[in-house]
């Protein structure tokens, strides 16, 4: 075979070769493409960003916030007489956007874990071809769950941080949505 002399000299010179910088327009094109992709409706994985809201959606969000604020003010006004009614328990799903107190996490987690378990059972029963189709989405679910767990650990260790909590809620929302869509696809469950 071939022998080489002074190979270290070649290696050293190769390390000194120039490094080039791309045009700034490359990033602009990447950004445009990503924004375009985000605006496309996707079958299973939907992206949520308040920056993609249109005017009508913004009006709806602001109106809802105003209504909630007005309602809260009325309900908790000083010496308010709140009509008494028998205690009932909501059967609605917990909102992942709620503050993440430990008790809430436990109940919410339990519910999602049950759904996830059910989903895995459904996938096991699917024919190979269909379960292969679902695999990338399941991988994504796994990654999101890992990220979510890391963030919860980070919050536990370093205390509350509005930015991290916001990201956690966003991840949680995506996770829930993904589980919901996958259940729809794999188990045929409409919620």
């Amino acid at each position: 075979m071939m022998e080489e002399k002074n190979q270290s000299n070649l290696r050293e010179t190769l390390q000194k070769l120039p490094v080039y910088t791309p045009d700034d327009r490359v990033w602009n094109r990447i950004e445009q493409s990503l924004s375009h992709e985000q605006n496309k409706p996707q079958a299973i994985i939907r992206r949520f960003s308040p920056f993609t809201f249109n005017r009508v959606q913004w009006v709806a969000v602001i109106s809802a916030l105003l209504l909630i604020t007005a309602g809260s003010l009325w309900l908790y006004r000083p010496q308010a007489v709140v009509p008494q009614s028998p205690t009932t328990f909501s059967e609605k799903e917990l909102d992942p956007a709620l503050p993440l107190s430990k008790a809430e996490i436990t109940e919410y987690e339990h519910q999602l874990a049950e759904q996830e378990k059910e989903l895995r059972t459904c996938i096991e029963k699917l024919p190979d071809q269909e379960s292969e189709q679902i695999k990338p989405a399941m991988d994504m679910l796994k990654s999101i769950t890992t990220m979510r767990d890391s963030m919860i650990r980070l919050l536990d260790e370093q205390g509350g941080n509005p930015g991290t909590e916001k990201r956690l809620q966003s991840l949680e929302k995506k996770r829930k949505e993904l589980i919901r869509e996958l259940r729809k696809k794999a188990c045929g469950i409409q919620e």
């Binding site: 071939m2 002399k5 002074n6 070649l10 070769l17 791309p22 327009r25 999101i144």
Partner: protein, 181 residues
Amino acid sequence: MNGEGYKISEKEQKLITDCLTGDRRAQKELYDRYKDAMYTLCYRITNDFDLAQDVLQEAFIGVFKGIAGFRRASSLGAWIKTIVVRTAYRKIRREVVMTSLEDEKQPETIDWGHTLDTEYLEQAIQSLPPGYRSVFVLIEIEGYSHKEVAEMMGISTGTSKSQLYYAKKQLQKKLKGLGVR
């Protein structure tokens, strides 16, 4: 799971998490961190600055779309680099002609000498045929093994070795032609 244990820093983990949620500032930070190295690699493979920019754009869009699939089997940089190499190689694949080492009979000695000029070396590398150039860049500059190159380019390790052999032979010839050695 095997292969998921590559240690990544907390800062990088946060960057990945932010990119996963579509945070544009995090995506830009990730891009800025790797753009020069990846663009240079694109250029060395394609030998064309404009095409290299197209490859860089396509590769990073792939990175951001596929970041959920990053399994920590390697560093984030290595994972991005693999995407960049595959994207770049797809662009030049048609021009690549792979030759086999079996035709070569005589062993040969290549002496790189004591003085090598970076400018001439860059020029000589860029004048190599695409197949030789890609393998040479990936192995000698980027530090990949023949096995890794073979996997990325969809060739055998034998072909990868022969490409490197011819690349080095031609490189020395070209350097002599340029009056370097």
